[in-house]
Assembly symmetry: C2
DNA sequence: GTCTATACACAGATAGAC
DNA sequence: GTCTATCTGTGTATAGAC
């Protein structure tokens, strides 16, 4: 699975996600014309992701947002009722999309080893396409009230689950040799996370997401497949 | 090197660091009594790290800080001249300490393989002892003005350097087999970072920093030492 | 050195014209 | 549906008594 293939099959422009979201929550929006609503929602979300990336959600004022999105203060408030709700909306909207897409693209059939590779690639490719969202989830949803934070934690564990389920399966079938599945899941997650948390670094070094995925897969496989031949463990 | 050994040798209580910092910058402080200054500085830094962890530096008001530190608003401003400067002070103070300690404890002599293990352990153990600081560096120094952000980026690359230098050395001597040193450095860094970014997860699962270090080392070694026997690379 | 009281700017949010 | 003008609270920062 190349990044190009993946990005052709998966539709996740901000406008796509906003349209889905609008349709599923039509009743709670004051604006009734779908095209208007979706266009403006997309402008708001784009502007929010951009400004949050640059200065942080908290430091972004609604006047900044108004300027960046091209909507007036008054207009903004027809799409959300408070700044907090805006954050919640982006969080929900994004994480629903991520969950849907990963569930869809992380294989059912197939050989177990290929399945693990696909899962890692799908995560990385999706995070590449939705860089702004992933960064936002990580940076901005840690400090929320309990309810919202739980959503965010649940999501972290969910994506980790995708990986550990596959690892478990491989261990059971004897394809993988691995003494600590949860820990392996964690560090795979950590490596995947680094891709979007350190965008600047990888961009600067001209490393493509495919190259990165390949490397992560190699490191993981060298451990879980050749474990028994590895050098002596540290004391 | 166990965590207990390490933590006995390295002194990094907030008070220690504040004392060092005060002595090196005595001239710019209005408060002249060292004990008073250090005590209050420590209270300020502790409170800032705590509140930033809970709600983010930006969302922390100076009234919050006053309450948490036990100092009045007026008193706070005898230790820094603006909220931004407070952030800068913590950043500088912390990163100087980290650099000093890592330089000191990442070995000179010794066998190359042991050297890599020690470097990984030293990083992890230090981040365990200075959890609050490390978390703060990562979360709060991304959105600064150029000057401060550069310090933070430099620091990221510096710690990565500690690792890649050792990897290079091992590759040259033939002990390690590794086709992409910078990428390996990045993911080692990513794994180390996860330890303090996901504290809640590892605490919840009762994983100790030693166990974590051991696992990271095993994964890394299984790749760089047995590379040539690994399964076929993904296409 | 430390406090309380206060200045001033800017944040989020809304009202009401168009 | 969208705008401008405005309200009100809270933020950072300082002045001046003790």
């Amino acid at each position: 699975m190349t990044f190009k293939d993946f990005s052709k099959r998966v539709m996740v422009t901000v406008e796509d996600l906003c349209r889905d979201f609008y349709r599923e929550n039509r009743s709670q929006f004051r604006i009734k014309k779908e095209d208007t609503a979706v266009k403006n929602l997309a402008a708001i979300v784009n502007a929010t992701l951009k400004l949050s990336f640059k200065k942080g959600f908290d430091a972004m004022s609604l006047r900044d947002l108004s300027g960046q999105s091209g909507l007036s203060m008054g207009a903004l408030y027809t799409y959300f009722s408070s700044k907090d709700e805006l954050l919640g909306m982006i969080q929900r909207q994004g994480q629903i999309a991520v969950e849907r897409i990963l569930t869809e693209y992380i294989g059912s059939g197939k050989e177990i080893r290929e399945k693990l590779r696909d899962a890692i690639r799908a995560h990385l490719y999706l995070s590449e396409m939705m860089k702004g969202w992933f960064y936002f989830f990580f940076m901005e949803t840690k400090n929320l009230n309990e309810k919202y934070r739980n959503i965010s934690v649940k999501s972290e564990l969910m994506t980790e689950r995708f990986i550990t389920d596959i690892l478990e399966e491989g261990v059971k079938s004897g394809t993988f040799v691995l003494d600590n599945v949860p820990l392996m899941g964690s560090i795979i997650k950590a490596m995947m996370q680094d891709w979007y948390l350190k965008q600047w670094k990888y961009a600067q070094r001209n490393i493509s997401v495919e190259e990165y995925a390949k490397f992560v897969i190699r490191v993981v496989e060298s451990y879980i497949i050749n474990n028994q031949q590895a050098g002596s463990a540290p004391q």
